[in-house]
Amino acid sequence: MPVEYIKSITDRYERLGYPAYKWYRAEEPPPWTALKKPISESRIGVLTTAGAYVKGQVAFYYKDDTSYRAIPKSTAAADMRFSHITENYLPDARRDSNCVVPLEPLRRLEDEGAIGELADDVLSCMGGIYSQRRVHQELIPALAARYREQAVDAVFLVPL
């Protein structure tokens, strides 16, 4: 059985006396857009919500940071950094960033031709934002605009 994160986090907040966390629940089936061409001919965008940044960029902050970073796809794992509010999930990523930002596997698949092309930059945001309104009004439109600029055919989302 998969871990019941919603139940366990809801129980913990209740025990700590916090206001109930309002989980996002989609009320309608997802929109379906079939791929226009196979992945081997497609340009792929990538989104990580692990608060990843590259040395030299500004790190994320922990109170509803709706900004994003563009991380060059050539970035070495040794230069990848993480700033995410749930730091307890980061120790292994800080040893090997590919376990949450899989740049090396993606570059290998691109080299082999399994992926047509990776967009030049992976986009990175903070996964712990406590305002659904700000995610919808600020973060998502900014990310969507950047993916349109990148002219990607599909986006690979990798949550933390």
């Binding site: 913990r12 992945i39 109170k63 730091e87 376990c99 990798v158």
Partner: protein
Amino acid sequence: MASADDIIRAGWPPRSVFLDYPLGHTTGRSGAADEQYDIVRQAMAAFDTAAEPGQMVSLDYQWSADDAWRSAAADTSAGDQRAPRDETPRYQYEADREAAEAAGR
């Protein structure tokens, strides 16, 4: 990609690939390059094969032979594991702050 089955299902993405690992390893174990490659390869393949809205493909990987990690992940007795919330950038290393300031960012 998904490792929190219930959270991802609540968000109802058009297509997803489930890896039943503890959070923080969404595309495989640290240091396991071949495993990470295979997981991402299967995720890319799912773009080509997923045919129904909301379809979730489960990958055939197991974190450990026993379920101790699940109990730890679902343990509600721990305190708040979130860091304090403010608007100060949280650099992984102090040298990163200096590098960002030197870059004029």
